[in-house]
Symmetry: C2
Subunit: 406 residues, 2 copies
């Protein structure tokens, strides 16, 4: 997409402000605080980290969404530089203090305030610093998504924004999303965040079903280093300004174009996170077919995607397919040895439980020299598929993560 | 232990031979084939990889042990350099051909022949090469365990032998074990193997219970890189020559000294494998206490031990305990945030859901500069413990595994 400011947006009633608050300790006073103000009626849905040590902000967002059948949002506040995770009761009070302040300022219920924090774990976040900064913030004339996405970056090396235009009935619908994340997580400074906005007139209940489904095929289909953050958050917000007839069912066929576009936008953001994977030199697509169920296909695909031996082999451009066999084997999922087919790019590697007679390691290696790697695996026991995305494991990953904080 | 030849062994009736067969393609014609011949009455038990793509040899050993209530063994044949894994029906025929040959030569049932192969995956192992080499082998005068352990090495940088002397009643009992493995697995050339021998007069059924229990606390409590081999095998063999009264029950208290010694021997071998972990610069002990069950404690411990972010932090001597919190959180096991206590060495890091007031990062970092690292984690919800062992994740691991085969 065009990285410049989006004009003529259908989401102009969303107010965006960013500021440098000083929470993120980097050279050059980079902006580290984002405030998104929403009009009264905005619907909201969210998906969150499965971690049992989830952060205070994640717990608050979850509560807000659970608090009513049709939750609404008035503000989303995101800071980078400090995750406010594992900060005990004090950390919870900080979230409460900030949310209270914002709800008074915006004259709304505290349940309508959503916060997200990423950065260092275990250090207290100062509510006063945030509140002081909020007071100095003023919204841009039109939503600057690029700048919003920049303010939430931590170890990210580039800004992640995606946009789609589609239709519901004859109404024009815009979807804009911003994201951050570079290690699937590096709890120090990373974590995955995504915030998606649309003008489609959809209830929070329908948004929740939409985000669950699209998330499964996008953010839940990527891995950088198999580690899970305490703060992962994806929110989907609607201004409800589009003038189409009401949609009361998630299954309404009038939603299908929107669904496709939402999934494609979320997948684009998810892939950008993998591309920005710590130390990544290659983007890897792993498609598993012939599994007994979608879940099984995904477990096998992730077993391959998370294997350090597979990831280092690809970093070394080594067509070491034995490691893929190993990763299938350790997944614990059904697969039939003599029916397993492995493809590196278009090159068929195995057939009848052994190496394929026409397999050319030269051709496979040729494919591995590219930046975009495709691994296809048919496990030969069923009809279900899954695709996951990951990156290779390089010296640079070790550098970033062994030497990061000190 | 003394690395030299063991004299006055109680296991002198075990015949060991080694030879260079040429299967392992290394400079210097290192020995790569080990044959252990056992007397007729020898009992045997085994534990094997959980991988669903296990090798032909593993499948054969499993079948042998299942074939009767009281399986016996006449020979164990181990080659390094070729794993004979993912070699299809041809690979199975190779195992059959070699076993048939050996059983004819030793005048025994084919069920009494056990084989193990490690090395490159997906290349056919030539039965003829093995058979020709067997014909040229002749046993040492007394068992040379050191040389036996050397012949089964692949990427191992040192030979792994362990020995214990204990008693059952007044009879002197010897236990000797050899092992190989350096990546928990690198399917190319690694895999974990262990072969343990004793003169204790124990049935195969009792041996099986012994090996299961000791394995859980030793080989099943280590990880180098979370990857599981297609060929992992541990066998426990008894010559039954010791002159103690029969032991008919696994629970017989006269076995307790033997149990302790067997577990300690297997744990020593397992720790040697971790110490030899690919690229390892530090040995890490992770003890989880206060969990709801032993299983839960072990899952949490492995979640920490397998986290690339924890492993790289330790490689970088960085007291980045937030990554330990993350790993506890992603394990999916019960833990109570406000009761979690993390120790780095003796240094208490967290209390009441946040960093402990007297925590000194300087002292924690001091501990991380050592070669032997201890991480203690109490999750505050129960009374069960588990300890696992691992190593750090270094640049050298990437070097070895990205550049290995090519």
């Amino acid at each position: 997409m065009n990285k410049s400011l989006i004009k003529n947006s259908l989401l102009e009633d969303i107010k965006i402000s960013t500021i440098f608050s000083g929470i993120k300790k980097t050279k050059g006073n980079e902006e580290d605080l984002l405030l998104i103000e929403l009009e009264k009626n905005s619907s909201i849905a969210g998906v969150f980290t499965q971690s049992l040590t989830s952060s205070a902000s994640v717990n608050q967002c979850k509560q807000n969404i659970k608090a009513s059948k049709e939750p609404t949002a008035r503000a989303i506040l995101v800071n980078s530089g400090n995750a406010n995770a594992f900060t005990g009761k004090l950390g919870e009070q900080t979230v409460l203090k900030i949310s209270k302040y914002l709800s008074t300022k915006l004259n709304c219920n505290i349940n309508q305030i959503y916060t997200a924090s990423t950065g260092v774990i275990g250090e207290q976040l100062e509510a006063e610093t945030i509140i002081k900064s909020i007071n100095m913030m003023s919204p841009f004339n039109i939503p600057d998504w690029e700048r919003a996405a920049t303010a939430i970056k931590t170890t990210d090396t580039f800004t992640k924004v995606s946009r789609r235009i589609c239709k519901i009935d004859n109404a024009e619908i815009e979807i804009v999303g911003i994201a951050k994340g570079s290690g699937m997580i590096a709890p120090n400074m990373s974590t995955m965040l995504g915030f998606i906005f649309t003008n489609a007139n959809l209830s929070s209940q329908i948004l929740q079903k939409l985000i669950l489904s699209s998330n499964e095929q996008s953010f839940n289909s990527i891995t950088v280093d198999s580690d899970t953050s305490t703060s992962d958050t994806v929110l989907l917000v609607s201004t409800k300004k589009a003038k189409h007839k009401p949609i009361n069912q998630y299954t309404d066929p009038r939603l299908s174009e929107f669904k496709t576009n939402l999934t494609s936008l979320m997948l684009e953001l998810a892939k950008l996170i993998v591309q920005d994977g710590e130390g990544a030199s290659k983007f890897i697509t792993i498609k598993v077919t012939g599994a007994t169920s979608k879940k099984s296909a995904k477990i096998i695909a992730f077993s391959i995607a998370n294997s350090p031996l597979v990831k280092t082999a690809i970093a070394g451009e080594d067509a070491n397919w034995g490691r893929i066999i190993m990763a299938i084997g350790k997944s614990g999922q059904r697969a039939e040895r003599d029916k397993i087919r492995i493809y590196i790019g278009n090159e068929l590697v195995t057939k009848n439980g052994m190496v394929y007679e026409n397999y050319s390691e030269t051709r496979a290696t040729e494919h591995l020299k590219k930046t975009n790697i495709f691994l296809g695996i048919d496990v030969g026991v069923g009809k279900s598929n899954a695709t996951v995305y990951t990156c290779d494991l390089t010296h640079k990953y070790i550098e970033i993560n062994a030497d990061y904080r000190s």
